[in-house]
Symmetry: C2
DNA sequence: CAAACATATAGACATTCCTCTATATGTTAA
DNA sequence: TTAACATATAGAGGAATGTCTATATGTTTG
């Protein structure tokens, strides 16, 4: 039977993304533990944005936004690129993927020694999902 | 072409789990922003455990563990069940699933108006995944 | 160069977080 | 009922967080 390894929280082999350490994951979740930063992640996952574009969407001062961007880039979840006087931000899709894998891993209940493969409750792939 | 909706971060219809609000998600990520709590989540996702079982795995005092369990249960990520003198803890799989969906959603780059369905980088389902 | 623009840093301040000790509450067992 | 066990609560203290104002740094433009 084919199952969706991703949905089971099993890192897909050959993808090159390694399981995050607990401390890295804690840092990434801390970066996501603030509503402002959640909105920023959502924004920069769609399209590259400069700080001034992001600032317009919030009622924050420029230094406060800079503080949040530093937390996001230090965690690795957001990439910064300097373009003249602008800083352009995008999501780091690899880190985001690793964090999704990590979250799936620690919330999966198939980690015991005798855990068998089975359909994950959150996967729509009714057994047809390649594993 | 069939794609994996789950891996795309699109809530699977008919599952009954609603997209979390930003503030709920921030609270859940805050619950996960501490290494001790990450380990606890990993532990209780495998098997129901009482506080004393969990305490043995850490170099913490009992009140400190109680503090962490309160944060985890208040967030909804962990369920508590009183059994005589013991508190038994398990992962709330529904909330965990909603959080995985939320994370997939805000880190997906397919949210624009003209976004097309396509294979997600973290899904092993090579187009065979039912959507 | 000087002015305007974009961003970062420094420092202050209130709040929250994580840990502890001490103690309280509730449950089981002798 | 008393002792032992399991957990929760109160309160303290130091560290971290999120916000601001003021200022510094670097870039573009007239």
């Amino acid at each position: 039977m084919f199952v969706c390894l991703f949905a089971l929280g099993i890192p897909v082999p050959g993808k090159g993304d390694q399981m995050l350490s607990n401390s890295d994951a804690a840092l990434l979740f801390k970066a996501l533990s603030d509503e402002t930063r959640l909105k920023i992640v959502d924004m920069v996952s769609e399209v590259e944005l400069c700080a001034c574009d992001i600032l317009e969407e919030f009622e924050l001062t420029q230094p406060t936004l800079s503080y949040h961007m530093k937390i996001l880039t230090d965690s690795g979840l957001v990439q910064a690129r300097k373009d003249g006087s602008w800083m352009r931000y995008t999501l780091n899709a690899d880190i985001a993927g690793s964090l999704r894998d990590y979250l799936a891993q620690i919330t999966a209940d198939n980690k015991g020694a005798n855990a068998g493969r089975r359909q994950h409750s959150n996967c729509s792939c009714q057994g047809t999902c390649e594993g």
